[in-house]
Assembly symmetry: C2
Homo-oligomer: 493 residues x 2
């Protein structure tokens, strides 16, 4: 964000608590009106401010946002998200208490501007970043984090598997004003010297606790991939395509024992509750191809995840359910409906899904189609897919491309679901378009710089920004100009 004419204003809306400062992107328009869009406040480089310091200081350990909501306590996080979403505190309390929404907010992540994830609210977009062993660079990952934030990531996951994992994570958290998630089994595998058979609950527990101490807000844990399901995956076209899922399956086969995360789930719940880590129950058996979509392996694991979600709700530990993957259009809605039924309405957090397998290099597009559909059917958060999916680790440009595609998908779903206020954004842009207010069009775009660049490519002169046409049709064929003339001629202009 940040084309000329747009500016940020930090608004202090809750007068009862001056520590709650909710940032909005205020866009001042050429017709004298203005519009506020949810955003993360831009930060100076280096260490971020810590808005949550006064919030969590005196708070008892183990007070999850769900437990507070059930006790009718409107935490600062709850009031913050109510203002950001433009919804009532009562609605947020009800959605949190029931488990239909989560606020991933580890009390040790003091830099966080909290976000609510649930299908009654704006659809959220997660950006995966992180090193692989081929390219371990902290600077590159912090740069990707900033790119992700600039293009509107609501949450970020650090999926690093190469370099100094603890140091990378620490740098990312301290630079991250949005919820940050991890997949702890990656660090556990490092400690097990790359041998999946040497993983253990004790190792995982230590990793989870250490990451929690750093301030990680949510963690993907593949507790639902139980032993009975593994033979089903062996029948598939693309087997197991989840990294964490394949590791847990490998451990079970090597040790001839049940998934230790499933066996020790009560201990996991206790640990997560202590730090208010939101559990993101991984779909280790998500389909990796159209051929495997909605098969017995996938749906079998979903049923197991549902039972775990029920136990998390009973414990007052926040929980989300992860979803696919690769799913053709006609099988997408069924995924969302089954998740709601089997998983007691826990927020559904999906990776795409890709609607075709044949789009390497453009998987952000094939999956934006699926993401828009699954969010319309009830998914609450969409994990972006970049053009590099299936081909390599994304760089900053792929992060940008993936985020923009997913913000489009999320907003398309919000329009379809009738999320209050969503259409005002489109209406403001369309009104600006019809009135040839070009600068307003750019400023209201999801990616103002790119909109401006494509306009400048054919009409770079400053005067073109006031012209009643563009180079697509030229001055004599501009439908909107002629349309306005028609309106005047019939006396309605």
């Amino acid at each position: 964000m940040g084309a000329s004419g747009a500016r940020y204003r930090i608004e202090v809306v809750d007068t009862n608590d001056p520590t709650i400062q909710v940032p909005f992107l205020l866009v001042e328009l050429g017709d004298g009106s203005e519009i506020r869009l949810p955003t993360v406040a831009p930060k100076s480089p280096g260490i971020l401010p810590r808005p949550r310091e006064p919030w969590v200081g005196g708070r008892a350990i183990g007070l999850t946002q769900q437990r507070m909501a059930r006790d009718g306590i409107a935490s600062q996080e709850i009031r913050f998200t109510a203002i950001r979403e433009g919804r009532s505190v009562e609605l947020i309390l009800a959605e949190l208490a029931s488990g239909r929404a989560v606020i991933p907010a580890n009390p040790r992540h003091l830099e966080l501007e909290p976000t609510i994830i649930g299908r009654a609210f704006r659809t959220k977009v997660n950006a995966n970043i992180g090193t692989s062993s081929n390219r371990p660079s902290i600077e590159a990952e912090v740069h990707k984090l900033h790119t992700a934030l600039a293009f509107g990531a609501d949450t970020v996951m650090d999926l690093s598997t190469g370099g100094d994992l603890g140091e990378i994570r620490s740098q990312l958290i301290r630079n991250c004003p949005v919820p940050l998630g991890t997949v702890p089994v990656y660090e556990a595998l490092e400690r097990a010297k790359g041998r999946p058979d040497k993983l253990s609950w004790e190792l995982m527990r230590d990793v989870i606790e250490e990451q929690a101490e750093q301030g990680v807000d949510y963690m993907t844990l593949h507790a639902g991939l139980v032993r009975d399901l593994i033979p089903l995956a062996a029948e598939r076209t693309t087997g197991i395509v989840s990294r964490g899922g394949s590791l847990m399956a490998s451990w079970q086969v090597a040790n001839e024992r049940e998934n230790f995360l499933h066996e020790k789930f009560d201990e996991l719940l206790e640990l997560a509750g202590k730090y208010d880590i939101t559990l993101s129950l991984g779909d280790g058996l998500r389909p990796g191809s159209i051929a495997d979509a909605n098969d017995r392996a996938q749906l079998g694991e979903l049923a197991v995840l549902g039972k775990l979600a029920e136990r998390a709700h009973a414990a007052g530990t926040q929980v989300m359910i992860e979803g696919p993957g690769h799913v053709p259009i006609h099988k997408i809605a069924e995924n969302a409906k089954l998740e709601q039924t089997l998983c007691f309405d826990a927020p559904f957090y999906t990776l795409g899904p890709l609607t075709v397998d044949v789009s390497p290099g453009y998987d952000h597009i094939s999956s934006a189609i699926g993401a828009a559909l699954i969010a319309t059917a009830g998914a609450s958060m969409l994990c972006y897919v970049t053009p590099s999916e299936h081909l390599g680790l994304p760089g900053p440009d792929e992060v940008r491309q993936g985020l923009v595609a997913y913000r489009i998908a999320a907003h398309a779903a919000d329009l379809a679901k009738g999320i209050p206020g969503a259409q005002e954004w489109d209406d403001a842009l369309s009104k600006a378009r019809y009135e040839f207010r070009w600068e307003d069009q750019f400023n209201l775009s999801i990616d103002p710089e790119e909109a401006l660049r494509l306009h400048d490519r054919t009409l770079p002169a400053p005067a073109a920004k006031a012209a009643h046409f563009c180079s697509m049709c030229g001055p004599n064929y501009c439908a909107m100009r002629i349309s306005e003339d028609v309106k005047i001629a019939i006396g309605k202009g």
Copy 2:
């Protein structure tokens, strides 16, 4: 197309007629199998071969493909498309005879490799090219045509409004092996010296006939935007956003008379039938914003178009119906269903629709979402939208981006509709992916060059093309490699 390992083979399948040579892209795979994908044969620069010369030589004037199908005549065009689609001649005859499908094939377009458009068949993608007065260059448009063909355009429209329109069109047709469409009112306006009020049926008729003599296969004509509907458009957020629609409305208001294309529709049908021009009845009142979607103006015009489609069917003139535009996800299926009901199942040919208004610079993505959905609901052909939409005339790179996005949308719909053979393509790629046959993955991609480029960006060494991992996860975290080990361990590998 054309990464290493892929090659074209021209197959002569119909042994009864050696003049029918249907090209397929044959991809030979590393596991010894092969797959055939529909394609247009690559052409040498300059004048194209004329496969239809022996077909149309002795044919009587006015024998439209629909009329032949009704008489049970399996024309060469019908047999060609049967082979290309992998469907029976009987099915093609039935779909054409009923008007549920069209084969736009002007007998004067001898370079054409015919294509069938109808919802029983593969979803087709149209690419708009053409000059505007800001950028009139024949060479640039021929280059864009070649780009469009290389990336899989099933049809092309020449929407030129600047430069020598007749010469541009002639060059494009002679270089075009796919159906070529136009919007004749643009040339009529040039002849009326840019004054919409000076348009007339006589002028349009002359333009249509001259373009038909050149070999134009289908023409957009805004015959449904009748006078009663104009006041409805004046109430809208974005008025009239169709160029042709705004011109026809302007003429009616200035002359205080009914749309001459509607008044003279019988003459138009006769003229179109003579040259077997497929009428593409334009939706002059398509919504240009989310706010205007499915409004009375749009649906009122659709009802008028339905009555015109019925008359076209009665006359044996091939007809398609054009559709929106900007439509939020939850209103898309209704568009397709209404079109089928009101327009007697004439093929629906839509522009997107865009599912949000706020994506300038990325409208190919917001509209690919809508395009996939409307094709799933029954649209037969999708007019692509490029990243330049609303901002300027697209260049070759935007043509490529738009086409790839729309080929993804079309294929996603074909999977959802269960078009016979569609999933074989995905299955072949996913099998190659699971078996780490990287070259096969690239060759099976919609855009092999881009897939290869993104892989090379992080792992350029030739050895990486045989590696059992990519830089996304690195060697220790490749789920598919671990998954295969698990499969072997449980005795199913």
